[in-house]
Amino acid sequence: MDFSIRAANVDDCKDIARMIMELAEYEKVSDHVKVTQKGASCSSSDSRLSPGTSDADLEQDGFSKNPFFHGIIAEVPEQHKTKEGHTKIGYALYFYAYSSWSGRAIYMEDLYVMPEFRGKGVGKALMSKVAQLGLAAGCHQLNFAVLDWNKPSMDFYLSQGCFDITDTMGYHCLRCEGEALKHLAQL
């Protein structure tokens, strides 16, 4: 199947927002997330976040002078578009990070391919592009997170040569947000 990988630009935000929602559905949390190209808000039932106070503005945060993330898009030619008319069928979001032990790192925040285009090398190509970009920037590692029940993804990643540092080193991700963060700032 013919597809191309390229850097995302501000005009891709609509499709990125759409695919972020699709990824959220895959991760089974779509009832907690509402993403638009201009903003995202969490209508979370666990009250960690209140609507309107935690917007992710893709256009501002990814495509202004000081971006907090970068994106790459997988596109198919017109003749392979989905029945809804989409030619942008996969994406990856990444940013640069740092390891105090080994230096520059690249962190892949999202990797997604629409269901009907899976198994054709698109995910591998997106990840390969992130790896290339990371190496070009002098990075020594590519890090990302996977949900423990997501066996298809875990199998795919392990087959590409990565390792599970939660398993081998016992590393857990922690987050302090909302009221806890406010409280911490006042201590």
Binding site: A56, W101, S102, S128, Q141
Partner: protein, 155 residues
């Protein structure tokens, strides 16, 4: 570098520190900083003495497409003999303030599950263990695997 070495020893991973002082300088204080650092100093007994660095934190900004900017705490350390004095809390307070000022919705970090004192320190302050509660596992490709993955496909 000595504080890194001390922290690495604490985590029993000192053989894994390959980052050099030169890289640290370039990556933190060059044209495109990959990280930011704050330090805690104490004044010596004599005013003529140089202040002594007793703690530091290394952080950078990350992104969660659902909720936006996050402040990521990469490294956080207070020298052994200066613990229990509120220095760690002070560093966290400073960083939380900074997170709020820069419109981050959260502060994130990684802790080794066997590091009980640190896990408790953070949980007491309201941090949630996303690995435990939501099932997130951290994965890594090291340099060799990165090079293999970046190579053009034979397909």
């Amino acid at each position: 570098m000595s504080e890194y070495e001390e922290l690495a020893k604490y985590e029993e991973m000192e053989h894994q520190v390959t980052l050099t002082e030169k890289e640290l300088l370039e990556d933190g204080f060059g044209d495109t900083p990959f990280y930011h650092c704050i330090i805690t100093e104490i004044q010596g007994q004599n005013s003529s003495e140089d202040p002594k660095v007793v703690g530091f934190a290394m952080y950078y900004f990350t992104y969660d497409p659902w909720v936006g900017k996050q402040l990521y705490l990469e490294e956080f350390y207070v020298m052994d003999e200066y613990r229990g004095l509120g220095i760690g809390s002070g560093i966290l307070r400073h960083l939380s303030n900074l997170a709020m000022k820069t419109r981050c919705t959260g502060m994130m970090f990684v802790v080794a599950e066997n590091n009980e004192p640190s896990v408790q320190f953070y949980k007491r302050r309201g941090a949630e263990d996303l690995s435990q509660e939501e099932g997130w596992r951290l994965f890594r490709f090291d340099k060799d695997s990165l090079v293999k993955m970046a190579a053009p496909s034979e397909e």
